[in-house]
Symmetry: C2
Subunit: 492 residues, 2 copies
């Protein structure tokens, strides 16, 4: 047989072509498009997305999936991944998708307006609207016990709110005392804050991401306002960065982060292309790859033993940079109100607050008008500081503006998983840092390729944790990693 299997693959291939084409249009929009082109680009993207959605959720796909399930030639892992997306998206009425998209645009505009005036009020009605639609969306998908599960499932297949709550509880219990200990010690100097020409920063960044294994013949680096990565297929995985001419760290760590995402996409087998397995296992697993390379590798003492001498030799402003100085600067802890500027210790406290607040919003336990006060109180409780205004408080993130509830936890999952992968890699390969000291990252990448990348979107994050690390997702490796690192950096 195999006919039903062929048919469903052909349908999915067309869906994937439309989605990758949309990704090219989005990349261009963020990297090259003149601002005046936004109107036409918006309708072009809307058309591509609508056609893709029709293909995913239409009767042809429903029938082909059903028929393929009975086809002995069909790959059950492929079918499971396909079903996971189909079952979610086919349940959502087209007019709700449309309503969310429109309200999201209004929400984003209201958020911009609120930010400009640093007042929450202009944002509140729009947030109320996108929240209401997100609740309807969750109800369309279906849930038991916790409505938030349905939103979370869009990013982390199979993961439940309860599991997250337990993980965040561990973090919010352990991190404040680590932070307190760190704050008793003098902070390292900000050694990366020196002027370096943009071209030189980019050249050095290219070399670094090339050294960790990012294949620039199957990718490219561009500039954009916010760094991101995207994939148009296994052989065209691109990243972007932004350059601060007075701070080497900004572009350098952004490149390592985005290259981590791109390494994942480049490692997904070509045979998965144009199918439901041809991407990462989840948002959090993707984030585990970027965080692993940015923080686990890029902020390690071993990495800077290798890279600091190169910086010192090539960049006049860094002629006195020692590995020790660079490594300590890369691990400065400085609690602040802004998530995207947060260090590894405080970052997950920012996420814990957002998780707590969005679960309450989605449940209906927290009225929108009480959100700013709850935000400020949470910052006080978790980080011991209060934002000066809503711009560095509740208005700082774009996510809620278009109704993207259920996304934030993936950042923390990424951090926890990265530590689990590093522990598993060390158990399998021995002393990773000895490799890094000489700029050899292929053994680690090989481990990630074999154990994670080679499986594409097949496993759930929890399944991946079990098979790679032999344990469910847990916080202990991450906490041990932080304690080890900051004991060394801060001499605790």
């Amino acid at each position: 047989m195999g006919k039903a299997w062929d048919r469903v693959r052909a349908l999915w291939a067309e869906l994937d072509d439309l989605e990758r084409a949309a990704a090219v249009l989005e990349w261009d929009q963020l990297v090259h498009m003149p601002a005046a082109g936004a109107g036409a680009r918006g309708v072009q993207l809307a058309t591509l997305r609508r056609l893709a959605h029709e293909r995913l959720t239409g009767p042809a796909m429903a029938e082909a999936l059903a028929a393929a399930t009975a086809d002995p030639d069909a790959d059950p892992v492929w079918l499971r991944a396909a079903r996971r997306r189909f079952d979610r998206e086919a349940r959502v009425p087209a007019d709700l998708v449309e309503a969310r998209s429109r309200a999201g645009t209004r929400g984003y505009m209201a958020w911009l307006e609120a930010r400009a005036s640093r007042r929450f009020a202009p944002f509140a009605p729009a947030l109320e609207e996108v929240l209401g639609l997100a609740r309807q969306y969750a109800d369309a998908i279906g849930w038991e016990g916790e409505r938030y599960d349905a939103l979370l499932g869009g990013h982390e297949p199979g993961l439940r709110t309860d599991r997250l709550r337990a993980l965040f509880a561990e973090l919010t219990q352990a991190l404040p005392s680590l932070l307190e200990a760190i704050r008793t010690r003098p902070a390292p100097p900000e050694a990366f804050r020196r002027p370096v020409p943009a071209e030189l920063q980019l050249a050095l960044g290219r070399e670094a991401v090339g050294a960790i294994g990012y294949d620039l013949a199957r990718g490219r680096i561009d500039l954009s306002v916010h760094p991101f990565s995207t994939s148009f297929g296994p052989d065209d995985c691109r990243i972007t960065t932004r350059v601060d001419p007075d701070d080497f760290a900004v572009s350098f760590f952004a490149l390592l982060h985005e290259a981590g995402h791109a390494l994942y996409e480049q490692g997904i087998p070509a045979s998965f292309a144009r199918g439901p397995l041809g991407g990462g296992a989840s948002t959090g697993v993707h984030e585990s790859q970027s965080r692993l390379w940015e923080n686990g590798v890029g902020r390690s003492a071993a990495f800077w033993e290798w890279f600091a001498p190169q910086l010192a030799a090539r960049v006049p402003a860094f002629s006195d940079l020692t590995p020790e100085l660079a490594w300590r600067a890369a691990n400065r802890v400085q609690p602040g109100p802004i998530r995207v500027l947060a260090d590894e210790v405080t970052y997950n406290l920012h996420i814990a607050l957002r998780f707590e607040l969005e679960v309450a919003l989605v449940r209906g336990d927290l009225p929108v008008q009480e959100l700013p006060a709850a935000w400020d109180a949470g910052m006080e409780r978790l980080l011991g500081l209060r934002p000066r205004d809503h711009l560095e408080g509740v208005l700082q993130d774009i996510h809620w503006s278009d109704g993207s509830f259920g996304y934030f936890p993936s950042y923390t999952l990424g951090n926890l998983l990265a530590a689990m992968w590093l522990e598993a890699a060390a158990a399998a390969l021995g002393d990773l840092e000895a490799d890094w000291r000489r700029g050899a990252f292929a053994p680690l990448l090989g481990f990630l390729r074999r154990s994670i990348h080679a499986r594409g979107a097949g496993p759930t994050p929890e399944e991946l944790a079990e098979t790679v690390a032999g344990r469910p997702i847990h916080a202990a490796p991450f906490l041990a990693y932080l304690r080890r690192k900051y004991a060394a950096v801060y001499g605790l």
Copy 2:
């Protein structure tokens, strides 16, 4: 009423979105894509093109067009342009479209192989195949008297082979004697062949295309192997160029040429966007815009009176460049075997040869194996030279390799029309060159906007000639323009 009219516009808007999305993917492919991405990009483009073709030729469009014809709210100009495309493309069976596309890829590969060995033989069977399919394609579209008409119609709506034959006869009669006269005189020095850093070349090129009216806030300039222009909508019309660090003319005139195309697209009314009127009137009319700015303006004495002092002031290598020297260098005549390097006098002789040969091929009067000999004989007859080998002979152009017969005449039409437009503009506005001498190109652009750009793809080329210049397409203005120019440059 108006429902049928709304419906057909909605269908066409979706078709246009798919085609513009494909244009973005093609632009990226030629400008930024890593070579490794070609495989995935090819299938993505094929999917977009297939979906677009289905939308154009499917039953929904057929019904909507029929219904709209009876809708009093419908715009008849819009409908005529839509019907023109629909009637052509709906007649072609999908498997012939597919067969042409596949044979075209094989033909292109065979052409590359033939070029590498400078032998025609490896190309002959593939050319035979694409020619056979082009004939089938013409037959599917339908023709009377001359099969070539059907191919020509894809580029020049309403134009017949007979008309072209008469135009080319005028040119091949008049140009050789002009060329002979020129060759009795010493050629101007190649004053642009001096080293200028690429960045500076691009900066000066940007200023020049900005001065003629290309709105860079609604476009952008990139580098590619072959310069081209593309439009993703009226507010995002992009051009590319290539830079020869030792020859300022290469990039500069390519930019003026491509900016001419982009000026056309930027001048098409926004209300035409996403519809059949939202493009140029024909390939030849498009070429008339690029040639007008590149040659009519960019190689005029007046233009160089304005621009040469700027070059001399800004580029050390050009410190001694006078307007006279620049203008004469821009109009050097040098018969050679290669079309894309040809000057304004010999260019149309190259096209005349290709037109004559492809009409004979399409008729079946010229067997493919006799093509190389016919080429060389034609070059001897028209240009008085013989190519050293097939690489600078019959294998030089890409067009035939994928079966694009009927395209070449548009280049010559562009030259003829450009001269007609300049004559009409001068009649309407008076002394254009007085404007150009002070870098003022808005009056000319305004004329083109009003008389040509504002009508989009509405008129046929012949209709446009009648309304703008009050005459059918004819060669006299072009020949007069050449005689006037070369009398001055060469002191004839």
